[in-house]
Symmetry: C2
Subunit: 195 residues, 2 copies
């Protein structure tokens, strides 16, 4: 599947942001990483870096939400909340292993850390991203038997715990934190199903 | 209590880093924020910004570890794991409320996002910081009746969840995520005590 320059630029921005943070990600590097013509940046992102960052955050949220749906599908006929959380953490431990200990983080987390205080439009973008990522998780939990009034809370718990464990695993260059939270939270999530 | 210029610079660096991230925190701003003479930076931090960032991360870890001990003391004669986690989250919801919705984040998280891939010494500093923050939590859990072999895992779960909920609460300018994880995780942590 071939992507146009706009899509490649957004994807590259997300990749560089999650590795180096927003402030250290220069537009020049993004264009080079995307193998896109320099002029395309001004063409597709007249709002400059802030627009590109916001688009990268939105892209990351859509990607993460689709992954949630795929994880649920992959669990077959008896999906469980703990199984979903294990799959969400395994995506990151797999990446850590493939990259030999060097884990790039979550672009939504990076944009929050670097921009929440200084760029109101980016703060709004990350809030929307967390909500769009949590929504399919809460929906999935409900289909697994978690009461509807509790599913959004558990989705927030799962996202919070995953984001924090990614930070610790990056720091430690180790899957320990991600594996630990999956093991600790899994049975608790499963116990929330009413069936 | 009067602090010298070195302490003030480290404190100011931590405050600016947790608000704006590492890359956007200029040394000039730190010196101004600390009301320190410009030359003191070179004098106390011959290793430059990286040394200052690492010192700010180490300061934040010591501060957080002391807060854990104080939270436990404040709970009196019957401290509980859920009560400790509630106090840890309340520190952040109180700050959010006092700052009218604008929450600066955790400097250890910011240093992880901005420096884990680019500055090996800072990556080591944040790994050490997470470990030094987790240690008093695990010790406190043990004194509350959590089995010794499980306390470090639950400390990792608590730190991960807190860090992620801080990110979401910053994004949302709302205590919702922090309050949600405290409510969801509290009973689970309490159930881990053997008494």
């Amino acid at each position: 599947m071939a992507y146009g320059p706009r899509e490649r630029i957004v994807f590259s921005a997300a990749q560089l942001i999650r590795r180096d943070g927003v402030a250290a990600t220069g537009l020049r590097h993004v264009v080079a990483h995307a193998d896109a013509p320099r002029g395309s940046l001004q063409h597709y992102f007249p709002g400059g870096k802030e627009q590109l960052v916001n688009d990268a955050v939105a892209w990351a949220a859509r990607y993460a939400a689709r992954r949630v749906d795929r994880f649920v599908t992959a669990m077959g006929e008896s999906p469980t909340p703990g199984g979903l959380f294990a799959a969400m953490t395994r995506q990151w431990t797999d990446e850590l292993e493939a990259a030999d200990g060097t884990l790039a983080g979550c672009p939504v987390a990076a944009a929050t850390v670097d921009c929440a205080a200084s760029a109101p439009s980016t703060r709004t973008a990350v809030a929307t991203a967390f909500a769009e990522w949590a929504a399919p998780i809460a929906r999935a939990l409900t289909t697994m038997g978690v009461p509807e009034n509790r599913a959004p809370s558990l989705a927030t718990l799962m996202l919070s715990t995953l984001e924090g464990a990614i930070l610790i695993s990056r720091a430690e260059r180790s899957p320990r934190a991600l594996q630990t939270v999956a093991a600790e939270l899994g049975p608790i999530l499963d116990a929330a199903t009413s069936t």
